[in-house]
Symmetry: C2
Subunit: 249 residues, 2 copies
């Protein structure tokens, strides 16, 4: 696993969710929201997510598209012991490296699950692309792995979360995006024109408008984001002044 | 909107989720699971999902990639009244058609929301690419639209669901995929080898293996899917025979 990564101002990530069960609606994904929150918290920009079926060509194409664009790519799903678990083989093909049973993975499985017979199916979980480092699931499941800028994790949320926790200390982190939320107490359509003027006055600050509906009716959250605390504070003040002016009309 | 679509054996869909708030983790997407379930129920194969930020180049590139590959593309998000709502303009650019305020959309907004001032921000919601048909939000919000094979919907789940309900009768549907779930009462690693043999004997049937953990410990759901009821039944019988044999050992 890469150690002591160089500091970088902006570190990006893509995510590849692998599994027919997500696309059929049978399983509701919980990993996208968790990865998104975690990346934001540690200062990595999640820029794109793709969900693809258990089809090798689709996995390879999506992985190659994502790994060439972002600092890191996180995959979830398809590393279990059954015939439909084809993620490890697909990753090896994407990187054009051989894949075989990895003695380190066998040792890890035997250590975490003593007494379970090491049959053909379980050995399948120990197939790791050449050159990859293992990502320990800490007794929650078989290992994931890290190759190049791609981190391959399980689909079961509890196992995915354990793997991610183990990986985080080794990731390069960028300057964190700071965020503030202002509740507008107004309908989006009643403040949109004025909000655009604020956004144009702060082109370096991200200002998002998110409508919601609660007991008191339609309302809007304005989310202001920047890596620069001073610009964030200035934009927030401008948003609040704008809201006061609209309401005073 | 296209009417009386020709019957087709296999109808496919892609989905494009648009919004910084999903990628930052601030908002947890609920539309992917809903669209996936709905498509499965009406016999359309959802084959791919992408989540992209509020960046026009990204939206255009992803939309063009998806619309060339699948029968339909459904987008969610970015059709509100504020400066960060750029979906309609991005779709117009992807289709290389002009976009302007659409009198039908103005009429629809005024009908559903009488008394709300038609200001610059609200007029923004009535900008519709040339050649598109409107998708009525039925009083829950501004209209979406349908252009070519692309259906553009709101990001707020309640509004998205209303739009989707209105669109469903007009979609071409394929032969429905039938699905049966067999609870293995076994660990995935203990049946994986034998399950592979069943899957290889039924190459025309999709057999998925989904581990889960409940009070009684690690377990596995085997999901068998096919468009052909006879093949589905035969594969299910083979799976059940396999499970009985493994347990009798």
């Amino acid at each position: 696993m890469p150690t002591d990564p160089p500091p970088a101002e902006i570190v990006t990530a893509g995510m590849l969710v692998i599994g027919d069960e997500i696309l059929s609606g049978r399983t509701k994904d919980k990993n996208i929201g968790h990865l998104a929150e975690t990346m934001t918290a540690i200062g990595i920009d999640l820029r794109e997510v793709r969900i693809v079926p258990d089809v090798e060509d689709e996995i390879v194409a999506a992985l190659n598209a994502l790994r060439s664009r972002y600092s890191y790519v996180f995959t979830t799903g398809g590393i279990g012991p059954t015939h439909d678990d084809i993620t490890a083989d697909s990753v090896a093909r994407a990187f054009q490296v051989p894949i075989d049973v990895d003695p380190r993975a066998v040792e890890m499985l035997e250590r975490h699950f003593p007494g379970r017979p090491m049959n053909e199916a379980r050995l399948r979980m120990t197939r790791i692309p050449q050159g990859a480092e293992l990502v320990d699931a800490g007794g929650t499941g078989a290992p994931g792995f890290w190759i190049g800028n791609v981190i391959v994790m399980a689909g079961v949320p509890r196992i995915m979360q354990t793997m991610l926790e183990g990986v985080i200390p080794k990731l390069a982190k960028g300057a964190k995006i700071l965020s503030e939320t202002v509740r507008a107490d107004a309908r989006e359509g009643d403040i949109g024109t004025e909000l655009r003027a604020v956004a144009e006055a702060f082109p370096d600050v991200m200002i998002g408008s998110y409508p919601f509906i609660d007991e008191s009716g339609p309302n809007t959250n304005l989310v202001i984001r920047s890596r620069d605390p001073a610009r964030l504070a200035a934009a927030r003040a401008a948003v609040e002044t704008m809201l006061a002016e609209v309401k005073a009309r």
